[in-house]
Symmetry: C2
Subunit: 163 residues, 2 copies
């Protein structure tokens, strides 16, 4: 199920990782009767290949260049679909989107966002979720969804900055 924490930061065969995740997403979509249409598929692919957060208009530019529609709703609708079905996530601090690296797990992960290179990693969220649930309960607050985004420096940029 949960693959051995392939964090975006670690050096990895990127083409492979992106292709692999796309394949899993496609299988998943088929399984659930979701229609991963050309635009949607292409957007997911863009996000996977970038392996970082992309703004809606950045996505739109790519789409337009490839012959898809060139108006905002085209990008926003595809992104909304991906987010709603767990193929991508929205990063509120950046007004941007990133592909989900663990599709099909129905998670609301913790994001680690590098302020220098914009790389985004999903970290295991369970401990954080538990702590948060406790805080909510203490206040009588019923938590439905959570957003956890940490800004900082990824290992690579950290090393670069130290130099």
């Amino acid at each position: 199920m949960t693959q051995p924490e392939t964090l975006a930061f670690h050096a990895h065969d990127h083409a492979h990782c992106a292709g692999d995740t796309l394949a899993r997403a496609e299988a998943l979509a088929a399984e659930q009767g979701l229609r991963l249409t050309p635009v949607r598929r292409r957007v997911l692919q863009l996000l996977l290949e970038a392996h970082r957060a992309m703004g809606a208009y950045e996505v739109l530019d790519r789409l337009a260049a490839e012959g898809f529609g060139n108006q905002p709703p085209v990008a926003y609708r595809a992104l909304e679909f991906l987010v709603e079905n767990g193929f991508a996530h929205r990063l509120h601090r950046l007004n941007a989107f990133a592909a989900c690296m663990h599709p099909g797990e129905d998670h609301s992960p913790v994001f680690l966002i590098c302020r220098s290179c914009d790389a985004v990693a999903e970290a295991p969220a369970d401990p954080v979720r538990r702590a948060l649930a406790e805080a909510g309960e203490a206040a009588g607050f019923a938590i439905e969804r959570m957003t956890v985004e940490a800004m900082g420096l990824c290992p690579a940029c950290r090393a670069a900055e130290a130099a």
Copy 2:
């Protein structure tokens, strides 16, 4: 120091709580040589009185109605000042701002945001911060700032919805 968790959700003497926090903020500003000018002071007061998240343009409208400038930078600059100096917080999910109920504690709290009435409470963040720090460390990621926002239902709206 940390007062006994006066969460926004609990029934409380609102005028008193707002006035009190404003007074503390003023003392704090004086102490630190920060200039809590009329616009800045008024914006903080607005946020405190509302006791919920307010958008920048909502703030701006109030300011304009009271004779301050009526262009976006007026509101954004005041809000930026308040956020940078710990008198207010930004809520990324809402593109909005809320007064800090614990100024001077240099915290990045956990927010509990009611999706029904927009009330915002700051909950103790230490357990969450610890869990998050651990997740970051495991990935070699140096966390500098965190955003934790939980959406859900406050006690009041929860009761109302159950009815």
